[in-house]
Symmetry: C2
């Protein structure tokens, strides 16, 4: 009996050993390491025919596309070859489970990378989908420091839709002033707004009208091949998965392909219950996959275009060419580019937002209730004469020592330890009129969340400091996806609007628009140990203070790499 | 007997106590702390009527003048409010005895100060004289980050010359491109040279001809009061000590005051045996005091002017007004500004260099011999297709971890541990012809000097990579003054030229020109524990590798402040 038990024990151990070995082999076979070595520097480029300094990665802007498979580990060794300027790169949509120090959020998860230094970003991509990376220091993103991340499903798992080819494009807007000049103007008294962009780029290519503004000799050259339009070549009859992302500095966009419908199938890494659109509204920080069938007259090319919505456009539409093979890729379509939707009609934008639901079979059901509700009133304020953006009349400022380090090492002096406001004066604040918001404050206080609790965020829009004006704010959450429970108009009603929440098949996203004079309701689980930024993805708005930080489960964060230190309170030697 | 001895002992102790107390009181009375708090940021300014981003200190460029008395301690708390760009400020001419970490030399004595951080520079000014401060990171100096330091003699000590008033001006040249744009062009293939400056400034004011180049609307405004000329108001009959310094990015200058001679009395903090000049040649990094007597027709104003020498000028002369009180300070002189000397005659420049001797009664006699002679051949080289400046065909590059920290903490991986060359191929290298210098190397190796030894440096000029061209290089030594033993033409002859050394009354300086096709011989004592840069003060030349580092007495350097760390190998926690 004893011998039998012993024998049985040995057999179980052998079986366990075999299983572990199998797992290890499987892991080796499936989870690869995707290693990249990047050199980041300034170079002169003419993406819209106008020559200016652009931040390139290995000579490219947009940077190289990162291709990976679910479960892979991505390692990107970044060398800062900017000359006097620091650097941080954010992996937008990647939740950084277990690697909160790799989120690339300067002052939140790391000190910036000084010139000459190399930093190793290392993280796992744990879900198939369409993601992005971009600079997250100052306003470097809009200097051209961005690119695509495309994660495919694991072997043997197929997408729930069919296509023949997979393509990625990123839409941006483009300014001719340097980010320094813009930042100085935004921080000046009197305030100088960045204004509308000079051009719209599709996958890094646009066209500025050189005759429209004086420029020093040689700066604007309409025949520069760098600003020939982006060309997407298609084979007639084939279906294309087009991954469309926006990393505009400012602009809300509509994207359309002349003569072709688009079927929306993915948003921010989650499958969407398919729906068909003529034009896709897209906000900075969002990614979508749309299916396009090359089923039109194959004897010609077609326009793809982007145009500004939500702000009165002063920028020419961005144009690219859908090239039906074997037509010449540079052959202009015989028609005028499609006119996008009018800029100031919010209804179709709200309708598209509301149309996005999780795909049947891929629904992550949200928790039915939340543990905490935080309301974020989006306002402009003046503080000591400076114009700022705020939530709940508090404009966000960044500390000298990153939150992640300060929290993990209990450096309490580093930031304001008082909790910031959970809401605003719901009863009396009037969202439809120009407020007298001269009483704002600036703070680096943060929201501490109980680990593994469920948090609801209500984004509440309002009138800006300009009469009859409310703007679109795309809010992006780091370290998490959230459920999008609902959108509405006017002031959020905690008693009635919550009843209309979609708790059945809400889409999960990481970026969501807040429409003019509207509200957007989100829910997420505070289940990712770290410090995470939640902010308006409009570059100038975040620069002007439109963001907050959530911290959760800090005690579960592993040993911080010394490479994220070097600023504020973290100078010295950490090594034995 | 024992009682008497004991009594005597007590008396001695009392006497000693009194003496110490006296010393302390005297020290309190004499050696003050001069505290400054600076905020450094970018602002739009129009120093020559053309609006561009300028680095200001507390809103000013040039920054505030530091006034102190010999023996004082200067504390400058600098906050970096540049947005994404680091910072370091060098105290030019201050030897930093005992405070080598306050020299402000990025990558040599400290990590750069990241945005949001505050750094406390603290040092003693141990000798009366005229000094400077300026940015020492990237090419920030030429963005307007500079100012004057004026140190007066101790109480009861008078200067060996008489004057009624004391004034300081700094001469600069000014570019309209940002330092980023310049740096990217300098680091490009094909190489793009920064070219001649757009204007010359006197104490931060110049005049660009707005009609000479197209600019976007509102950028160039000839009637902007910011670019009204600098005015030096004088009372007829009075004598002015004018402290003239140059911090040009590139240009060697001549400075002249219409109708007035100048008596040179001080150079780089050392008294000069007085001599009279019509025009003062001055090189970037040099300071001079000249005496000017307001003894001309008092019914009018006079021009002060600077013009480019040593390079073919393409820049209008810089103009300021010597205003005889009570004439209106803006009244233009009735005459044409004085034409400076012609640009390409080296002889008077060499003659002025040779005329500068230590003043009788203030001679520091140099050691009669040296322990080591290092020859620095100044050349251009190409390295992997990039154009670089070099000494002995080695182009200098900066490490990620500052030398001072690496040396003090024995971080050997941080820089190349092999000694760089002590000379060049004296016999075969032809200094008068265009060389085939495509075989250069780049290195961050340094010269280690035995503590308290005497070192001779021979700067040897040569032809650049352009036919029949040799440039003027002003070399600046950190942490020391050197004796200027001699200047000569052609290739230095170790056997004969050394015999002509001035060992009797050589001036001590910290910056000295190397004239075209000439040599300059220096001697200094390696008596200041630390790591010290020695480099061409032309901003673009140093950026392109024209410098070396000396290290001495590192074991005598005190505990390094953690505030200088944060880059390279020095990230983490140094604190208990």
């Amino acid at each position: 009996m004893a011998g039998l038990l012993q024998h049985s024990g040995i057999m179980m151990k052998l079986a366990a050993l075999c299983f572990v070995t199998y797992l290890q082999v499987a892991q080796i076979a499936e989870a690869r390491i995707r290693y990249h070595k990047w050199d980041v520097k300034y170079e002169f480029r003419s993406p819209d025919c106008y020559k200016k300094l652009v931040i390139t990665i290995n000579g490219m802007s947009p940077g190289p596309t990162i291709l990976a498979q679910q479960g892979d580990t991505i390692i990107v060794e970044v060398t800062n070859s900017l000359i006097t300027e620091n650097l941080a790169i954010h992996w937008h949509g990647i939740r950084q489970k277990g690697t909160p120090w790799s989120d690339g959020t300067e002052a939140v998860t790391q000190c910036p990378l000084v010139p000459g230094d190399t930093f190793k970003y290392q993280f796992t991509v744990d879900r198939a989908g369409t993601y992005l990376y971009h600079g997250h220091y100052g306003m470097q993103r809009e200097s051209g420091l961005y690119g695509s991340i495309r994660v495919s499903p694991p072997d043997g798992v197929s997408e729930p839709f069919a296509y023949d080819y997979d393509r990625s494009i990123i839409l941006t807007d483009w300014y001719h002033k340097s980010t320094y000049e813009q930042a100085v103007e935004l921080s000046s008294i009197p305030f100088v707004w960045v204004g509308e962009p000079q051009s719209l780029l599709i996958q890094g290519k646009g066209k500025f009208d050189c005759s429209s503004a004086p420029a020093p000799s040689g700066v604007c050259n309409a025949s520069n091949p760098e600003c020939s339009p982006y060309v997407l070549t298609v084979v007639p009859g084939k279906t294309y998965r087009l991954r469309v992302a926006s990393l505009t500095a400012l602009s809300a966009l509509s994207f359309q392909v002349e003569g072709h419908n688009m079927t929306v199938v993915e948003a921010d890494g989650h499958y969407v219950e398919p729906f068909v659109v003529n034009n896709l509204f897209i906000y900075s920080g969002e990614t979508y996959s749309v299916l396009i069938k090359a089923d039109q007259d194959p004897s010609r090319n077609y326009w793809m275009s982007t145009n500004v919505v939500s702000r009165k456009p002063e920028t020419a539409d961005g144009l690219a060419i859908l090239n039906y093979y074997p037509n010449h890729p540079r052959r202009s379509p015989p028609t005028l580019p499609p006119a996008g939707p009018i800029w100031n009609n919010t209804a179709p934008r709200l309708a598209q937002s509301q149309a996005i639901k999780a795909r049947q079979g891929f629904i992550h059901t949200p928790p039915p209730t939340s543990d905490r509700v935080i309301v974020f009133l989006n306002t402009q304020n003046t503080i000591n004469g400076y114009v700022r953006w705020s939530v709940n009349n508090v404009s966000f400022s960044l500390p000298s020592t990153p939150y992640l380090v300060a929290l993990r090492q209990n450096l309490h002096r580093v930031f304001n330890q008082n909790p910031p406001p959970e809401g605003y004066d719901f009863a009396n604040y009037e969202i439809y009129t120009k407020p007298n918001n001269t009483n704002g404050t600036s703070s680096n206080a943060i929201y501490r969340l109980q680990f593994n609790t469920t948090v609801d965020i209500i984004l509440q829009n309002a009138n800006t400091m300009i009469e009859n004006n409310s703007e679109t704010h795309p809010w992006h959450l780091h370290g998490h996806d959230f459920w999008v429970l609902g959108y509405g108009k006017g002031k959020f009603d905690i008693h009635n609007d919550t009843k209309k929440y979609n708790l059945v098949n809400p889409i999960m996203k990481n970026t969501v628009p807040l429409h003019p004079y509207g509200w957007t309701a989100l829910r997420f689980r505070a289940d990712n140990p770290g410090a995470w930024l939640f902010h308006c993805h409009v570059e100038a708005h975040f620069y002007m203070g439109m963001g907050v930080v959530f911290a959760e489960g800090i005690e579960k964060v592993g040993k911080l790499p010394s490479a994220i230190m070097g600023c504020g309170e973290t100078k010295g030697f950490d090594k034995p």
